[in-house]
Point group: C2
């Protein structure tokens, strides 16, 4: 079966091939997904980009999936309604699950404001490896104070609508594996906390003394 | 930077982080993408589903990406215009490139009617491993004769519009690594041709005598 069948999927009774997924779903092993969630400007990307090279240095094959990349490659046309945000996160989660299956160290950095969408991503990934959720807990006030690119000012002024934390919801993670607070904390410290947790979980080899 | 910035991407001057992709793009090695293209009903999926388990048996971690799967997970809302088909193939190609990078044996089965879109997918994959294009060359007449699910009849009757090979183009691959003809040939034979080529390319370990 192929995509043409979708042109009239409802007209099709049953699949013509019995063996749709004959391949075993065995994993390569060693893969996991590190999922950073938090407001725009919270520090997700900064911390993720400190963690990534360290994992790389320790011999893991790192796959960095940020919101922008996935929107460019996979979510062109999606906007910022709840439905579109959910679809975006579902795609990110699905790709993360594929790469996790093949042994990659996936690092996702995405606002991912909805708990259910994150849970769905977790469920897909956990079929193949651990899902480590990192809540980058920076207050709206602090993010707005940083406001490097002026987005919060525009959101508060009503020039941008549907902005997470301003006029669009952010649901705090119910049970994240890691919480990092970034106010008064250097990103390097937060990255060290994340790496430490990954070591503790046995996902990353410990640093060998030089 | 994260996806919120897209809410007003044009208002943003420069990226606030210099180190956007600090992770090395080193590959795990051993990955490749086997890309089946051909008309609806040509036999792509049947052959792919014979090849997959064989690769699996020989120790590869197989990732099967068919048009349906990717449409469900990644391309909901896309239709069958040239633009939408191109976007769909771009997504497939991108995911294939990611899994190839992590050492997977990716098997894509998708009509993928446009040469340029296939070339773009090839270019993304080849950054990380070989791209082996399999043209399943079955004539429209033969596909229509098989017409297991009655789609061709509807397409010829004008009840389905934009059907590849009927009222929508299929551009033959310019330089596929493998061409299989399926008329009067058992799918098992075609699968053996594909496996043989993969062995020849050094991508699959040769069958060891029992």
């Amino acid at each position: 079966m192929n995509e043409s069948s979708n042109q009239s999927a409802k007209q099709i009774g049953s699949h013509i091939y019995a063996h749709e997924h004959p391949e075993s779903e065995s994993d390569r092993g060693g893969g996991f997904t590190l999922w950073f969630t938090g407001l725009s400007g919270s520090g997700k990307t900064t911390i993720a980009h400190l963690v990534g090279p360290e994992l790389d240095r320790r011999g893991l094959v790192v796959e960095y999936l940020d919101g922008d990349t996935v929107r460019t490659h996979l979510s062109k046309g999606l906007g910022f309604s709840k439905e579109d945000r959910d679809a975006h996160i579902e795609r990110l989660g699905w790709v993360a699950s594929r790469v996790t299956r093949h042994g990659g160290a996936v690092i996702v950095a995405a606002i991912s404001p909805y708990e259910q969408a994150r849970q769905n991503a977790r469920a897909m990934v956990e079929e193949h490896g651990p899902f480590v959720e990192v809540y980058v807990r920076t207050s709206v006030e602090e993010c707005a104070r940083r406001d490097v690119n002026g987005l919060y000012a525009k959101a508060f002024a009503g020039e941008i609508k549907g902005f997470t934390g301003v006029d669009d919801p952010y649901e705090e993670p119910a049970a994240p594996e890691i919480v990092v607070d970034t106010e008064g904390v250097e990103p390097e410290e937060s990255a060290a906390v994340v790496i430490g947790k990954l070591e503790e979980l046995g996902l990353v080899p410990s640093e060998v003394a030089a």
